[in-house]
């Protein structure tokens, strides 16, 4: 089973979960932990997720900022000991890429998803001249 936890400062986590719900109509694989909205300790929720991972599951924890306290806390909980992959710098594209991956989520596959996701973060400068998508021949080739 594929399962994800997103932990962030504030509502980035639940925000991304809601976007995934709108795009794919199914956000059930995602647990969202919005941290620092109150004084409560968020680590038990993360520990509960780590403890819930079973043999055969593909599990990823996403945090928001490399070097931030959420990322640091998760790192110190040793997700790798539970077979869980930790990705930081969470963005919608990477979460979707992991959710919809055709391949099992090994560290190498996740590296690929992260790289593709990063390449899709760009300043938009649409080149109208290049928009000609070629001949019918190219399409059918």
């Amino acid at each position: 089973m594929r399962k994800f936890l997103i932990a962030s400062h504030g509502r980035v986590a639940s925000g991304i979960k809601s976007a995934v719900g709108i795009l794919t109509h199914d956000d059930s694989a995602i647990t969202a932990v919005d941290c620092y909205l109150d004084e409560s300790d968020f680590t038990p929720q993360i520990q509960e997720f780590l403890d819930s991972v079973q043999e055969g599951d593909e599990a990823v924890v996403f945090t928001d900022l490399l070097g931030g306290s959420v990322c640091n806390k998760v790192t110190q909980m040793h997700p790798e000991r539970y077979g869980v992959i930790h990705v930081t710098g969470v963005n919608l594209i990477t979460v979707l890429g992991c959710l919809l991956s055709d391949e099992p989520l090994t560290p190498e596959v996740v590296d690929g998803v992260v790289e593709t996701g990063a390449s899709l973060i760009q300043r938009v400068a649409v080149d109208e001249e290049e928009a000609d998508d070629g001949s019918d021949g190219d399409f059918f080739a």
């Binding site: 795009l23 794919t24 109509h25 199914d26 979707l96 919809l100 055709d102 938009v124 649409v126 080149d127 109208e128 001249e129 290049e130 928009a131 000609d132 998508d133 019918d136 021949g137 190219d138 399409f139 059918f140």
Partner: protein
Amino acid sequence: MIVQIRVDDRLIHGQVALLWGKELNTKGIVVANDHAAHDKTQAATLKMACPQGQKLLIRTVEDSIKVANDPRGKDMRIFMLTQTVADAYEVASNCKDNVQGVNIANAGRFDRSDDAQKVLLTTGVNLNPEDLEAARKLCELGIPVIHQVGTTDPRTKVSDLLAKLG
């Protein structure tokens, strides 16, 4: 072979890009839209939205009919997008043997036609008189005509939705 003509008033966008290409296992997308075929900005935007790994053609409705009937495309799984039901009928009625089905997913929300004249077939499907007529004629072509927004959503027969209108 056009595996599906999808009517979506937003043409290519996130959900289409991510989910439908995989679901239908298509190799290429044809956007059948007169405006997009002549507007470089819209064409460039559509190209940007097109998922990597899918070929893209942006053609007028008339040229899209030629693409649908092109023998070179017979064994190629192609996903076609139109903005209106009327455009989908125009294509489907001219290449019936090369179209496996029509999905009226979203229509009429941005076409600026008179709201008072529109009929709400179901959520997200607002048919102006031309599109309503086209929907009825599509259902008589002998190919499946459904309404299914997302790949995990239920699939409804458009003929059932039209029957409810009375």
